[in-house]
C-alpha cells in the first residue's frame, strides 16, 4: 500500500488528478493479459510439435505446417466476427465460448490420426479460439478506462511478448516427459481451467461491479446500466465503416505486421546462413522479444501524451530502419545490435491502435473496428511469414526479403501520416446519443 501512496503522490496528470490509483480496472487488465498469454502461447509454440508428429506419422513438415497456416487465416477471418460478438454479447460470454472452443480443439487435436483432422481441430477450432482471445478483450479493457487508457493497454500489450517466451520451455518440457498427445491434453485442460477461473472474476463493465471507469471525473457521462441497443450499435457501425480511418488502420496494421513477420520468420535461417549456430541464431529472436516487451509497455502511454499518429509513425520508422543493418550483417555484434534496435520498433507497432480508436471513435463499441484491424494484422503475419520463402527460392538471397520488410514498414508510416487528425472524433459522439430514460 505504501508503494501505491508513493505512486499516487508522484504521478499526477495535467489537471492534478492521480495518474495511478487502485481500481478493479487493474484486475481486469491482469485477467486479460493472462488470458491472452495462455490463449496464444500454444499456437506460438507450434514449431515444437512438428518433430513428434513427423516421427509418429511420417507426415512432411509442409503437411504439418499447413495446420498453422489454416489457424492463422481462420483467426484473421474470424477476427471481425469475434469483435462483433464481443460488442453484442459482452466479453465475458464471448470469452466463455472461446474457452470451450479452445478446450474442445486441444482435446480433439490430441486424438488426430490424419492430416484433415489436424487441420480441422487445430487449424479451425484453435484458430477461432485465438480470434476470440485476441479481439474482444481489448475493447473490453477500453470500457474500463475513461482516461489513462495507455497505461492499461501497455500492460496488456507487453503480455504478448511474455506468452511465447514462457510457454515454449514449458511445452518443450512436457514433450520431453510425455508424448505429444498427452502434452495437448494437459495443456488444453490446464489452460482452460486457468481461463475459466479468470472469467469468473471478469466483469464486462465497471457498472457491473458498481464502480465508475478508471479516470472518471465529476461531470463525465456515466455508462448506461444496460447493454447498448443493437439498433444503436448498427447505426454506429455504419458511421465507422464510412470513415477512411476504419479501413486504413487495417491496412496499416497489415503493413506493420508484414514488416516484422518477415524478420521474425527469416532472421534465424539468415543468421545460420551467415555462419551462426542455431542456438545463437534463435537467441536473436529472444533478444528481439525481450526488448519489444519494454516498448510494448511504454508506447501506448507515450502516444497518449505525445500524439498517437506521431508516436505510431516514429515506431514504424524504427521498425524499418534497423533492417538496413542486415545487408552488412556478417558479424555477431551487428546481428545482436539489429535485434535490440528492431525490437524497439517492433514492440511499438501494435500498441497505439487502441489509443487511435479512442481518439477517432470515442466510447462507441470498438469490437468490430478492432476486429477488422486484427484481420489486417493476421493477414499481414501470414503474408510476411510466407513471402520470404518464394523470394529466397527464386533469387537465392535474402536481400529482397529485407527490402519487403523495409518498404512495408515505411509504407505503413506514410499511411499513418495520411490518417485523419485526432483532434476530434470522426463519428458522432456515442455518449451524446443516449437511449431515452425509459430504456436506461
Amino acid at each position: 500500500m505504501q508503494i501505491v501512496s508513493i505512486l499516487r503522490s508522484k504521478f499526477r496528470d495535467s489537471s492534478g488528478y492521480p495518474y495511478f490509483y487502485t481500481h478493479y480496472a487493474w484486475v481486469i487488465v491482469t485477467i486479460i493479459a493472462v488470458m491472452q498469454m495462455v490463449g496464444t502461447s500454444v499456437r506460438m509454440s507450434f514449431g515444437l510439435f512438428i518433430e513428434p508428429l513427423e516421427s509418429e506419422y511420417g507426415w512432411t513438415q509442409n503437411t504439418i505446417s499447413v495446420a498453422y497456416a489454416i489457424a492463422s487465416i481462420v483467426t484473421a477471418i474470424s477476427a471481425p466476427v469475434a469483435g462483433w460478438v464481443g460488442d453484442r454479447y459482452g466479453a465475458k460470454a464471448t470469452m466463455s465460448f472461446g474457452t470451450i472452443i479452445f478446450f474442445v480443439g486441444m482435446i480433439l487435436t490430441g486424438t488426430v490420426t490424419s492430416p484433415w483432422q489436424f487441420y480441422l481441430y487445430f487449424g479451425v477450432f484453435t484458430g477461432v479460439a485465438q480470434a476470440i482471445f485476441l479481439v474482444p478483450l481489448i475493447p473490453a479493457a477500453m470500457i474500463w478506462f475513461r482516461r489513462h487508457l495507455g497505461l492499461g493497454m501497455g500492460i496488456i500489450m507487453s503480455s504478448w511478448g511474455f506468452g511465447p517466451a514462457l510457454a515454449a520451455p514449458l511445452i518443450g518440457f512436457l514433450l520431453e516427459a510425455l508424448n505429444w498427445r498427452d502434452a495437448f491434453w494437459i495443456l488444453g485442460t490446464s489452460a482452460s481451467i486457468v481461463m475459466a477461473l479468470l472469467i469468473v472474476l471478469f466483469r464486462d463493465r465497471p457498472i457491473d461491479r458498481g464502480v465508475l471507469p478508471y479516470g472518471h471525473r465529476e461531470g463525465d457521462p456515466v455508462l448506461e446500466k444496460t447493454r447498448p441497443r443493437p439498433e444503436k450499435m448498427r447505426e454506429y457501425g455504419t458511421y465507422m465503416r464510412k470513415t477512411a480511418a476504419f479501413w486504413n488502420m487495417s491496412s496499416i496494421h497489415f503493413l506493420g505486421c508484414v514488416g516484422h513477420a518477415v524478420v521474425l520468420i527469416y532472421i534465424v535461417p539468415f543468421a545460420v546462413h551467415q555462419g551462426l549456430s542455431l542456438v545463437m541464431a534463435a537467441a536473436i529472436l529472444t533478444v528481439m522479444s525481450a526488448v519489444s516487451v519494454i516498448s510494448r509497455l511504454f508506447v501506448p502511454v507515450l502516444s497518449e501524451n505525445l500524439g498517437a499518429r506521431t508516436v505510431m509513425a516514429v515506431f514504424y520508422f524504427l521498425q524499418a530502419m534497423p533492417v538496413l543493418l542486415l545487408f552488412w550483417a556478417h558479424e555477431l555484434w551487428i546481428l545482436y545490435s539489429f535485434a535490440i534496435l528492431f525490437g524497439i520498433g517492433y514492440g511499438g507497432e501494435t500498441g497505439v491502435f487502441p489509443i487511435l480508436n479512442r481518439k477517432y471513435f470515442g466510447h462507441a463499441p470498438m469490437g468490430t473496428a478492432w476486429g477488422v484491424q486484427m484481420m489486417g494484422a493476421g493477414l499481414g503475419m501470414a503474408f510476411g511469414g510466407w513471402i520470404g520463402g518464394p523470394i529466397f527460392d527464386i533469387f537465392g538471397t535474402y536481400d529482397l526479403v529485407w527490402w519487403i520488410s523495409i518498404i512495408s514498414s515505411l509504407g505503413g508510416m506514410i499511411s499513418i501520416m495520411l490518417l485523419e487528425s485526432t483532434k476530434e472524433l470522426i463519428i458522432p459522439d456515442w455518449e451524446s446519443n443516449r437511449a431515452p430514460p425509459s430504456e436506461a
Binding site: 513471402i387 518464394p390 485523419e420
Partner: protein
C-alpha cells in the same frame, strides 16, 4: 481533395492499393515458384529418360497459382 478522401470501389484508395499490390505479389510469386517446380520436375524426368504422365501432373496449388497469374 486529399488522398484520404479518394475512394475506389467505395473503399479508401490506400486500402485498395495495399490489398491489390499484396494480392498481385502473392499470385505472381506463387506462380513463379510453381513454374520453377514444374520445370524442375520435367528436368528430372528427362534426365531419367522416362516420359510418364506424372511429369505433367501439377499439385492443386500450383495449378491455382498458374491459372490466376496472367504473366505465367
Amino acid at each position: 481533395m486529399q488522398v484520404k478522401d479518394v475512394r475506389l470501389l467505395g473503399l479508401p484508395l490506400q486500402f485498395v492499393v495495399v490489398a491489390l499490390v499484396s494480392l498481385s505479389l502473392t499470385v505472381f510469386l506463387g506462380a513463379w515458384v510453381a513454374d520453377d517446380r514444374i520445370e524442375a520436375r520435367k528436368g528430372i524426368v528427362s534426365e531419367q529418360n522416362t516420359a510418364t504422365v506424372a511429369s505433367e501432373e501439377k499439385e492443386v496449388w500450383e495449378s491455382l497459382f498458374l491459372f490466376s497469374c496472367p504473366l505465367h
